[in-house]
Symmetry: D2
Subunit: 145 residues, 4 copies
């Protein structure tokens, strides 16, 4: 992993106001892979007190997008075109891990898959999966980073 | 629209910590339909300064889910099984509207569609759409509301 | 609707071996909209004797794609990047109608929505919906039509 | 793998008219996993002569569904609620392999993931992926097998 790529991803992640707001931390950057962790907080819940599906989506979308940043050119950027999320178990737990991985790299379209887990003392519990479609963007002033 | 249903939905929405955190307001409850509005804020952004896809998903998921609450029994509840979101335009604007509508009611599975718009002085601009699949839940102590 | 566009779509539809195989007919071409009809046949079923979800997907994908052909340049073509289908009622009936409509046109990415209905003497019954993401293709020898 | 389960799946697969029509063969049944193979044929194409996305969806849906049959009770059946398919490379090749696997078993909802490959002399090429949501059905006369 190129240091420049790591630096770029960390700086870009830090600009995501939404990640700050939910308290997400960028914990691992690998080749075609990235992990985010998130402590549970009451401010992130749906009506039953579980992690809100939108918060899960936010973390998975960010993990998938930055996994894709590890394979694009330095002067390119990415936009999320669409994603699908399956909620497999209620988002209960003290801490959550979200991993994004590139399934299909490409010069225009990148497909990534992500999985979310509740982590604690026992084995990690799969709570959600995402498939996301990303578009590589070049030469747009408003979409640089 | 039954007053009890409205009261129930408002109380349940108020328990969604995630909606408080993003600053979403429940602005309309109709038959099989519900609207949420959200002012733009820096704390809700992705790296280019647009509304984060996860925030859009959170608002659309909540709009779709509570649209479904307008058609279920008072002692039933709902869980989101899965959804798909298409991001159609960057989430730029001062204020956003998210509308959820029931496409297919059902005793076990409900399908809802949602649309998100940037609203301002001119015509509303479509920024995203969601299709979500919800499961009607009965008799579970931890999923009451 | 330009006659050239209609001619082009009809010729392209006729080249879809899969549409011939399932017995689909192109019944209406409108602006940003297209309809396909399909008679029920035993050769199109899943194990319970209903229309197979893959057949429903084939018809909806074709309807959505050609709806998009009504808005692209004559020298451009389209590829389906991805779609999501919700099966709302079992595919039971003598005849089915599939309508594709453009939700968001674009120079690179087009988003279309489709709905499938069982049609007969009574009111049409909604059996499925699709959201599909299409990519506009130019200048590729193998993707011309 | 219980012989009864294998027998049941083979009999059910044989009743899928759509699988006969496209020429699909059930080539492997494993625990929570199933494979289908499909020779290329002109009758399965979209307009550019590639395998139609609907045919890919049909094979992946069947592979995912029968992967789920390996984990449900003998008196239960399954219906596809929804799926999402990403088309990653044009469906070009002499022969295709579709593998479905259970990602999340459950008493009511099962989530499966599938992948499609073009196979030949060289390495298999990933052409598509699916995530599908299945509902376990019991006690319905019309949905037995």
């Amino acid at each position: 992993m190129d240091d420049d790529v790591q630096t770029r991803i960390k700086a870009s992640f830090a600009r995501q106001g939404a990640m700050q707001t939910i308290g997400a931390e960028l914990t691992q950057i690998g080749h075609k892979m990235l992990e985010i962790e998130l402590p549970f907080h009451d401010k992130l819940t749906q009506q039953h007190g579980f992690l809100h599906a939108g918060v899960i989506s936010a973390a998975l979308d960010t993990a998938c997008s930055y996994a894709a940043y590890t394979v694009i050119a330095n002067d390119a950027s990415l936009l999320t075109i669409e994603f699908k999320v399956n909620m497999m178990s209620p988002g209960r737990g003290d801490r959550f891990l979200f991993r994004g991985e590139i399934t299909k790299p490409g010069s225009t379209i990148i497909v990534a898959d992500g999985r979310g887990y509740a982590i604690g003392d026992g084995p990690a519990k799969l709570i959600a999966s995402m498939t996301s479609t990303l578009m590589v963007i070049r030469g747009r002033e408003d979409i640089r980073e």
